[in-house]
């Protein structure tokens, strides 16, 4: 047997460079230089979330000395502050004028306006949102799988099967439309990276939940004889009881060029008055009595999304605007106007939905009691924001 000499492989050679922190002393070698120093943290210590989020989206009022370099045909550029009618202090101050020999004119007195004070209290960035959502889908899958193995769906009455296939099914469309055409649609619109990232994360919750419901519907089609996996489409497209919800959901996508109104109307008005009304005050209350221990866990995951996360960033976004040192009155008037505009639409949609309260065999709380709870919850949210519940709430 002969052996052939293999040619020496061509690979990069490791070299000892001693290029690690602390290897030498020189200006900027100390520990104090090892932090992002271009922004002021909201609290004493800068957070990991702030480090990966703040100032990624530049601002001509800060360091963007050459200005935005692409414009829309109408002359607007970057992330215009006029894409909502809401105002944060400082926005009416002109941008620094720059030109021949002007220098950078960086704004030392930072933040230059109140929008930059916003921080997402959920501190969402990629590590957090993948862990959170991966945990949710795992838990939801496990719950459904457990019910499937234990034949948990066998206990459902025909009436409840019908309720889930039509009405729980119809809700997936609400979440999908809000996720894609309200939240994702607005992630280009707000004035800071912190806002737009929070909006994008909110959209993920919605789109995920829409798909959770769709795939739950698919499992039920496979597990329950006679479960009509397409009944949700008929309910959503044709059932009168859903047309009020559909109308207001679609109206949220059609707000005339104001990301602030879209976020506010959805998370402050629609969610408590319709979303929680349906999810918490109907489905989650009534399912157990009808032999269903699974659907509330699927719904509950989304309820946590809203109640513990999406509402939190919304409050942190809009609350300070009501107290704004320069535009509090302007904002309050505007937000009250939006409440007056959206609350009647939401209540009308809620009342249109009322007939489904009487469909299950084991009855849920009375519709009026459910609605009262939703109104009370809504009034609390509005009050926390420093706003007044609109008179339309009593309609």
């Amino acid at each position: 047997m002969t052996t052939t000499q293999r040619p020496e492989r061509s690979v990069p050679k490791p070299t000892f460079t001693d290029a690690e922190a602390g290897a030498q002393e020189f200006p900027d070698s100390g520990a104090s230089a090892r932090r992002y120093n271009y922004y002021k943290p909201a609290k004493r210590k800068q957070t990991h979330y702030e480090d990966v989020t703040v100032d990624v989206q530049p601002d001509p009022r800060h360091y963007l000395s050459q200005g935005w370099i692409y414009g829309f045909a109408d002359g607007s550029r970057g992330y215009p502050l006029t894409w909502t009618k809401l105002k944060a202090w400082g926005v009416d101050e002109p941008e620094p004028e720059r030109g021949i020999g002007s220098g950078g004119r960086h704004v030392a007195d930072w933040p230059a306006h109140g929008w930059h004070e916003f921080r997402d209290p959920n501190e969402e960035w990629e590590m957090t949102f993948y862990r959170y959502n991966a945990n949710v889908v795992r838990q939801v899958n496990q719950n459904i799988e457990n019910a499937r193995v234990l034949k948990g769906f066998d206990n459902w009455t025909p009436n409840w099967v019908n309720f889930v296939e039509r009405n729980v099914g119809a809700w997936m469309h609400v979440e999908h439309i809000l996720g894609l055409y309200v939240f994702a649609a607005c992630n280009r619109s707000a004035p800071t990276n912190m806002h737009n990232t929070a909006i994008a994360v909110n959209s993920m919750h919605k789109i995920r939940f829409a798909q959770d419901l769709a795939l739950y519907n698919l499992t039920l089609s496979e597990e329950i004889d006679g479960f009509d996996g397409s009944a949700h489409l008929d309910a959503w497209n044709n059932d009168d009881v859903w047309q009020g919800v559909r109308k207001v959901t679609e109206a949220l996508t059609a707000v005339d060029d104001d990301w602030g109104e879209m976020m506010f109307a959805t998370n402050v008005v629609f969610e408590p008055l319709i979303g929680e009304l349906f999810r918490s005050n109907l489905v989650m209350q009534v399912a157990a009595g009808n032999g269903d221990f699974v659907t509330p866990t699927v719904m509950g995951a989304a309820e946590y999304d809203y109640a513990q996360r999406d509402l939190r960033w919304t409050q942190a976004c809009f609350g300070p605007l009501v107290q704004d040192r320069e535009f509090a009155d302007h904002n309050k008037q505007l937000l009250q106007g939006w409440l007056a505009k959206w609350v009647p639409q939401a209540l009308e949609a809620a009342r249109t939905l009322q007939p489904i309260w009487s469909l299950p065999d084991a009855k849920p709380p009375r519709f009026e009691d459910s609605l009262d709870r939703a109104k009370s919850r809504f009034a609390g949210i509005v009050s926390d924001l420093g706003l007044e519940a609109p008179k339309e709430l009593n309609l």
């Binding site: 061509s10 990069p12 460079t17 290029a19 690690e20 922190a21 030498q24 020189f26 200006p27 900027d28 070698s29 230089a33 992002y36 120093n37 271009y38 922004y39 100032d55 990624v56 530049p58 050459q66 200005g67 935005w68 370099i69 692409y70 414009g71 045909a73 002359g75 550029r77 030109g99 021949i100 020999g101 950078g104 990629e126 590590m127 993948y130 991966a134 949710v136 889908v137 469309h173 439309i177 996720g179 894609l180 055409y181 607005c186 280009r188 737009n196 990232t197 994008a200 959209s203 789109i207 995920r208 798909q211 769709a214 519907n217 698919l218 397409s230 489409l233 047309q243 679609e250 059609a254």
Partner: protein
């Protein structure tokens, strides 16, 4: 989730597709393209039930590797020459990534195909991932690499530095103007499909060769998402091609997007790969060789040319011209030389080239030494302060270039420079295609056709304008490129961290004032401008003055 169940699940979520019944969504973004409703399938076939755990698993690998790099003392073998260029790259790239996320709703608004919106929404989430994971990588470098200066103030620097402004095209270009031009053709069809190969595949390989295995870990993880985004662009392109009225716009946008990506990405990544490496094995690919493989063969020949049969007009001439720029006209070498010439306006340290580097360049690019060797020898000679000024002020046969109004890279291949009077001022362009982009493409009419949604090129596009007449010490201070002793510059034209070898504001104070080429040109009369142009196009290579008696 099995493949079979994934297909079934994906089919099921198509039932979510929305056809408005009571209110049409507000159309915030416009396009001059027209789309017929077409039943194009969502090419990503991604369901969030499997997507989130998959991405979480990818994250675990990335963060595990990060932890391992620190425990394994990776920074004891990282090449400083390489990591210094990452101060520029990692200050740029998080914005393009998050801009790609922001661009997706522009497509929801103009592409009337709900099934595609699902893929676009997933791309949005991916892009938020990329931006923050890259900011996090930079944070890790800042904490563990010997010299944090430049990483620690990276976003301030990026927003005010001319290199950052060049890089910002690769972000603002995704989110502004005609929605299809920006978010589809420029972003997904050209930037992601063609140029992420060099960004996220070729460059990480070079990082690994320089002792940095974190950049490959993060960017290959990113690239595994990019390959899905390419499918998004392809589906939209096929929809656009189905309407003949779009073909004129597609031809325009492909020319613009191709050329701009070539000018911007090849300038930056070419420099990082060729001048930021210490790996001089003769059999390692040069940037030109990588470009030929990844962009010319994989993108142009395998992806673009087959689209010709669907009616897409391919910019064959520009692709050949880009190759010529890289191979014959030394585009990357000219850019690297310019970056090094202007080291004092930046926020990272630029290592000089050694004999080993010279030998490699000569082997890979025959004739390199005759063009650039002498200048790099001068760069080394003038690297540490010793009574002289920085190289840009010394007599090294280099004429400071005018800046291209469109791509904002200076006009470095001197023979190609063109000038035009536009909107009341005289502008210089690095190439006829950049002139065309500004003067003809980004306008409200194109070849007689109304294009009311087309964007505009705006802003103070020549950085030097802002500091015209300023003393250099004040320029550097104003930009904030100063270390924590208040006088030593962040940038250095060498890697020696001995404070006695480092340039300070005192050295800058004695330099001549900064002069803006564009301001000076606009002060000339017509004859002066013509003479300037005639002289300029006779300059080079390597920035040499025009020969006196030619």
């Amino acid at each position: 989730m099995s493949r079979q169940s994934l297909a079934k699940a994906h089919q099921k979520i198509q039932e979510l597709s929305w056809e408005p019944q009571y209110h049409e969504p507000y159309m915030k973004y416009g396009t001059d393209y027209t789309f017929r409703k077409a039943a194009k399938k969502d090419p990503l076939k991604q369901v969030l039930r499997s997507y989130f755990p998959m991405q979480e698993e990818k994250d675990h690998r990335v963060y595990g590797a990060s932890d391992g790099a620190i425990r394994g003392n990776m920074f004891r073998q990282v090449q400083e020459r390489w990591l210094e260029w990452q101060k520029l790259f990692l200050s740029i790239i998080p914005l393009p990534e998050v801009s790609a996320a922001r661009s997706m709703p522009m497509l929801f608004h103009v592409v009337p195909n709900p099934e595609l919106h699902n893929g676009q929404a997933i791309q949005m989430i991916d892009e938020v991932r990329h931006s923050t994971i890259q900011q996090n990588l930079k944070r890790l470098y800042m904490n563990n690499y010997i010299d944090p200066a430049g990483f620690n103030n990276s976003l301030r620097n990026f927003h005010s530095d001319y290199c950052g402004t060049i890089g910002r095209q690769f972000a603002e270009g995704f989110i502004t103007g005609d929605a299809i031009t920006a978010a589809s053709i420029y972003l997904t069809i050209v930037a992601e499909t063609a140029f992420t190969n060099t960004l996220f595949v070729a460059m990480p390989a070079e990082a690994a060769a320089n002792g940095d295995y974190l950049l490959p870990t993060v960017f290959h993880s990113v690239q595994s998402d990019e390959s899905r985004h390419i499918s998004n662009g392809y589906a939209t392109l096929l929809m656009a091609l189905s309407d003949e009225d779009n073909r004129q716009l597609l031809e325009r946008d492909l020319r613009y997007a191709w050329w701009n990506n070539h000018r911007v990405v090849d300038a930056a990544i070419g420099t990082f790969i060729e001048y930021g490496t210490k790996d001089r094995r003769k059999d390692r690919e040069s940037y030109a060789e990588m470009w030929r493989r990844w962009i010319y063969d994989d993108y142009y020949r395998a992806y673009l040319i087959p689209l010709e049969k669907y009616g897409l007009v391919i910019p064959h001439d520009l692709i050949e011209e880009s190759w010529k720029q890289i191979w014959e006209k030394g585009y990357v070498h000219e850019v690297a030389q310019f970056f090094a010439t202007g080291w004092l306006a930046n926020y990272w340290r630029i290592d000089g080239m050694t004999d080993e580097d010279f030998e490699w360049f000569e082997y890979k690019y025959p004739g390199w030494y005759d063009k650039y060797g002498k200048w790099w020898e001068n760069y080394n000679r003038l690297a540490t302060p010793n009574g002289h000024n920085p190289i840009v002020f010394e007599d090294v046969d280099y004429v400071y270039p005018a800046r291209c109004w469109t791509c904002m890279v200076p006009c470095l291949v001197r023979e190609d420079m063109v000038m035009a009077d536009v909107d009341g001022v005289t502008r210089t362009y690095c190439h006829e295609v950049c002139r065309w982009t500004d003067v003809e493409a980004f306008r409200p009419t194109y070849q007689g056709r109304e294009t009311p949604n087309m964007g505009r090129l705006v802003g103070h596009r020549e950085w030097e304008t802002l500091y015209h007449g300023w003393n250099w010490a004040d320029v550097v201070s104003d930009m904030g490129f100063v270390r924590d002793d208040g006088k030593t510059m962040t940038a250095q034209p060498h890697l020696n961290l001995d404070p006695s070898k480092m340039w300070t504001l005192d050295h800058m104070r004695r330099c001549p004032p900064l002069q803006s080429p564009n301001v000076l040109i606009n002060e000339m009369d017509d004859a002066g401008k013509a003479a300037f142009h005639a002289d300029y196009i006779r300059q080079g290579p390597a920035g040499r003055p025009a020969p006196e008696n030619a």
